[in-house]
Symmetry: C2
């Protein structure tokens, strides 16, 4: 089956048209596709919230197949947070459903002249209709109404109040397998872009569509799927993820000789309260309270999503991930796990990027808006975001926005986007990725956690990791599958009946990165934007074998893509 439908939704004229994807896009999907379409179809100098801006939504190239984790979805747009190209990649139930309906991409343009709209897509077609009854509502409530019991066929992508109010840290929430809005296309403000279009919700129902997508070599593909699943299941990394989720790293990164647990607005790399928010502690609480490990999409065999209940066994969140824990937790000196889980749920409900919000609250604490460690204060700030008060809009505007508002000069951002948890001073490879990724500070753009390597080597590792992640985000699998370019090549070969090898995968990835960099260039970015904030070069962390600041030279940073 061909997946080649491009749905064009013009919110200004309230019309939907459909076309076949051009041949040159046949082997593009996910991030590479949305980045390419963004570059080809939009002027890089438009305002990201203007009617001329577009939101591109695409399943991965392998979407709809039985390959584990292959149902991820890419949201591409010009970011209201960074002013550059942006891709937010998300799990959940949306990607496979789009693929099964033959949809290669949805392109949302214009701005609704008729108030809030919803977009329904199913085997019959696609329709816009009034979403007046959904306006102002938050994500848990929305997904309960829009997906309800139809867990086997439906998925929604919605914005909460933050997106409605066009805040730059607003996310798009995607339904998880239990019908909850816990999977977020979060980074860079996709929710604000969707909000600026006047689109409150997208609801996809794949009833009547084929359950699995395959091509002429479907038997070969099935064999490879089984083989790969076995590799994934036998990988000790999978075991660790399946037991502790991404929170499993906390005890490790909090150690004195790693110092990658951001604390007090990234002032320190270890936090005394880290054990209380660690994967081990969460596992222990889960045993008492009926917590469990979930897949974030049907067909995932890794199941790293932590479902966290409160002391009464009531559901709090199903996405208690390392980055959320670190930024909302240690970075604000907030704990224990119950407190962080509650903040995480609030972010999911209001529709916010937890990384951006954790950084923003950290800067607000630095400014004295609330004290360090003030859990109740942080909750109040999030409720202000929900209510879109002036203070709520300041926080919802993101890290740099809070800093600008309060005149704070220690701003943890690259290209305007808040720093993830991985510490660029001790894990300098991460600093190289944060600096040089077209996405801004983004750990998923290319993880390089090696220590002790030369800067030269780290540059090469970061480049390779960034290419691999572009490939991962484009074929649409999860980074935690640990799929190598050779694995992806095998899948593409058997899905599309061609002769791809690992070099073809990497070439596709490089073209995708080049498209993103070209968009940024047109938007006014240059080498000076491929830099960490100065204080990460000046403020060293006190490691046992000596102080460490970020010290990779500008020339080496420039060498990543030259």
């Amino acid at each position: 089956m061909e997946i080649d439908r491009i749905l064009r939704v013009d919110m200004s004229t309230n019309t939907i048209t459909e076309e076949r994807a051009p041949k040159r896009h046949a082997l593009l999907g996910g991030r590479a596709l949305t980045a390419t379409m963004l570059l080809e179809e939009t002027d890089a100098r438009i305002h990201p919230l203007s009617p001329e801006a577009k939101l591109f939504i695409a399943p991965g190239l392998l979407g709809g197949t039985a390959i584990t984790t292959s149902g991820r979805t890419s949201f591409g747009f010009k970011s209201p947070l960074t002013g550059g190209t942006k891709e937010a990649n998300v799990g959940g139930q949306l990607g496979h459903r789009l693929a099964r309906l033959g949809i290669k991409a949805i392109v949302i343009s214009g701005t609704s002249a008729n108030g809030w709209q919803r977009l329904d897509i199913d085997a019959e077609g696609a329709r816009l209709s009034s979403a007046a009854s959904l306006a102002g509502r938050s994500n848990y409530d929305l997904h309960r109404e829009l997906v309800g019991e139809a867990l086997m066929s439906r998925a929604a992508a919605t914005i909460g109040p933050a997106g409605e109010h066009r805040m730059a840290s607003a996310s798009i929430a995607v339904t998880d397998p239990e019908g909850r809005p816990t999977r977020h296309a979060a980074r860079g403000g996709p929710g604000a872009v969707m909000g600026a279009k006047g689109l409150k919700a997208i609801v996809v129902d794949d009833t009547g569509a084929p359950r699995v997508i395959a091509g002429d070599r479907k038997d070969e593909l099935r064999q490879e799927v089984v083989k790969f699943s076995k590799v994934v299941l036998e990988d000790p990394r999978t075991h660790n993820l399946n037991r502790y989720g991404t929170a499993g790293v906390i005890k490790f990164v909090n150690r004195e000789n790693v110092q990658s647990m951001p604390t007090r607005n990234h002032r320190l790399g270890t936090w005394a309260g880290a054990d209380g928010i660690s994967g081990q502690q969460i596992e222990a609480l889960g045993k008492e309270r009926g917590g469990k490990m979930l897949p974030c999409m049907a067909g995932c065999i890794i199941k790293c999503a932590i479902l966290f209940n409160d002391e009464h066994g009531q559901h709090v969140t199903s996405a208690l991930e390392f980055e959320s824990i670190a930024l909302l937790g240690s970075n604000c000196e907030i704990g224990p796990a119950d407190a962080v889980a509650e903040l995480d749920r609030l972010c999911d409900d209001i529709g916010l990027d937890t990384i951006e919000v954790g950084n923003a609250v950290g800067v607000a604490m630095e400014a004295g808006v609330i004290p360090w460690g003030d859990f109740e204060g942080a909750k109040r700030l999030l409720e202000e975001v929900r209510a879109a008060t002036p203070l709520g809009r300041i926080v919802g505007g993101g890290t740099a926005h809070v800093a600008r508002t309060f005149g704070i000069d220690r701003v943890p951002v690259v290209k305007g986007q808040g720093l993830p948890a991985w510490e660029p001073r001790t894990l300098k490879g991460m600093g190289i990725t944060y600096s040089t990724s077209p996405q801004g500070a983004d750990h998923t753009a290319g993880m390089v956690t090696a220590r002790g390597a030369t800067a030269d080597t780290l540059v090469k590792q970061s480049r390779h990791a960034q290419l691999v992640m572009m490939a991962i985000d484009s074929v649409g699998v999860c980074q935690f599958s640990n799929a190598l370019p050779a694995d992806m090549a095998v899948f593409v070969r058997n899905r599309f009946d061609n002769d791809w090898d690992d070099q073809a995968v990497l070439a596709m990835a490089r073209a995708g990165i080049d498209a993103e960099r070209e968009f940024n260039r047109r938007a006014g970015f240059d080498r000076e934007d491929d830099r960490l904030p100065r204080w990460l070069l000046d403020e060293a962390l006190p490691l046992p074998d000596g102080p460490q600041a970020f010290d990779v030279s500008d020339d080496l940073l420039d060498a990543v893509w030259s």
Copy 2:
């Protein structure tokens, strides 16, 4: 007498040191000097509010002489508003006093560790001391205390609450000849930089200093001063300014075939209420209420400052200028003159750039924070700035900050700085200057109001006007003196006993512009930053002979400085 003292005030260590200016700076003053020192002494990538940032303060090269209007002062810094080089140039009583004390520049660095400080400078020397008793106070109150009755010897430069709270539209208020804080180094946030240093006030007393500075050719200089004064006094532009102030242009620019009276967040170029805020109306009110025209500094023979009283004859403001009237008035659809004068006084008192605030309030109105034309609402917003509430900090953060906070895509800024009143769509030469000035949208960077010329010609005019303004701001005279490069050359020749001609003046200016552009380049600016916001290219104004949008090509814009 040599003017070559460089005072270095390190707020972090609470120390003041003094040195002689290097020879290469001997013929630099004002803007050219502060821009050059900024480039030479600071890393362009520092945060503008960090301790590493510096604030440079310099009288013009002709400061302290009897040349009319030659007492202007330049404040140079990295701008928290634009992120680039910035110079805010101001009249008032400061410049001549600094020059008479032999001070070529003051350099403020570091950040006070001991709370708010004041800097006192007089013939005895310079001293820092606690300003605890001044903290939190507004400018009218401050200048009354700091200058008081000592009008003949003292001048203060202070920040109000906006600067204390490091807001990006905060100004530095300089004392006028009547002892009031009505002259502002306003654009680009110099008040925020001074605030970040922990410096609340600079008080200069020139008791004991020579009244007039001259060199070996003082007789020739005196003759030229007299000759030039005669030219200025006979110029019909002077007569107009002396009668109506800069507000004299309002009836002209509000006409249907000019449309340069920004209205409703720059949506229109004419406003029905314009007559009520015009120079003619202000003159008429002045006759009833004891209004008058004042010089903004001793020795100015133009006297274009409008002193505006309320209906009871009580002083409201002494700086009711066209830009303030247009941005706080028509752009927000606020009138009549009494209302605008009250907003202008509030800006002076709180320490705010009226152009930035008028744009910011216009965008807030666009966002529905208060209705169009809501004078009481605008006053409330300014009082929120004074109180530094969240909403006040949003407004005080400037135009782009308000737009970002409320998700507004129609943002009237260039390089992050709010648009002046002169309309770039109908007066395209202004659009060229706004685009290509290293300062961002700034009418004083190079006025080109010719209409009907080709874009080619306008590019040349803008370049020349920008060079002339750099020269004007560097020798330290007022643009309304209409001094030509040849005039400035005559003065420099006779003041410094050299052989300057008009080409030498323009070469100095070009070097100054180049220094500013180099700083911006290092700070990450490129050609894409030399552009107007897109909506000025898309939204045409309805002139009688056809719609007009900004349509000068990118190539021509790039040709200005290439």
